[in-house]
Symmetry: C2
């Protein structure tokens, strides 16, 4: 292996995103961060991830601007890992993954957690829309490619 391929230079935004958070653990860490976990041990307990790997992933997520390492409130002190503004912008990705899972990955009658509107307690919806408000699917869209020149 010459090293895992990097997609940094790809013109496709999805590819670049995967380059940043496409790792198997990274999005799970982000998911937990959305649920309020901040400490090394919390992530480790929640995910069952090896400590050396968690160390690496947290560092990477921090270096990429998804998480920030802030000194924990106390005196000493230890660090807490919190989502940055950029990290919070991953919310739609998490919701999209969730909705896919809900629809396809649970048997009938099998229970799962549900993301709800805090105010009314009703499940949230995610949709893709045109500028004039129509909800659309993959077939009603197309990709406008930009060709770069040297």
């Amino acid at each position: 292996m010459v090293g895992r391929k990097s997609l940094k230079g790809d013109y496709c935004p999805s590819a670049r995103s995967l380059d940043v958070i496409g790792d198997w653990w990274s999005l799970l860490i982000v998911r937990d961060a959305f649920e309020g976990l901040t400490r090394f041990s919390e992530f480790q307990k929640s995910l069952g991830i090896a400590k050396n790997i968690l160390t690496d992933r947290l560092r990477t997520l921090v270096s990429r601007g998804i998480l920030e390492a802030v000194p924990a409130g106390g005196s000493g002190s230890r660090t807490e890992y919190k989502l940055t503004a950029m990290g919070r912008d991953l919310f739609p990705v998490m919701v999209a993954l969730r909705q896919f899972g809900e629809r396809h990955l649970f048997g009938p009658g099998e229970e799962h957690s549900v993301l709800v509107d805090r105010e009314k307690g009703l499940p949230v919806a995610l949709d893709i829309r045109t500028q004039d408000g129509r909800t659309i699917g993959p077939d009603e869209t197309m990709l406008l490619k930009i060709l770069e020149e040297e």
Copy 2:
């Protein structure tokens, strides 16, 4: 390693989704499939992935119901890999990743491809909304957890 941890049994739909398409290559293959690629060689050329890995990923995606292997039109014949209905339901995930990338992973003035409404040619939007139509962010939501019993 006793084998990569499986999240199949997790009650969190996001986790299960990641279990199915959280692999580094899988979502890139799905992305290409959304762009109309169907053949082994097309994916290989587009992604620069090693052939043995591509073989493995295509098989896995088929076995999980994301892609289907259909005999190519001709006489012989070779197989084409197409998104299933379930696979097409990954569209919001792709769009969410794309929007994140567009917002954070390109420098100002740096060009990238854009997903547009086929009819009007305008960029599409993705948003998360309550049942009564308000667009909301992570702070206005909460997770309703289901505790399973034995």
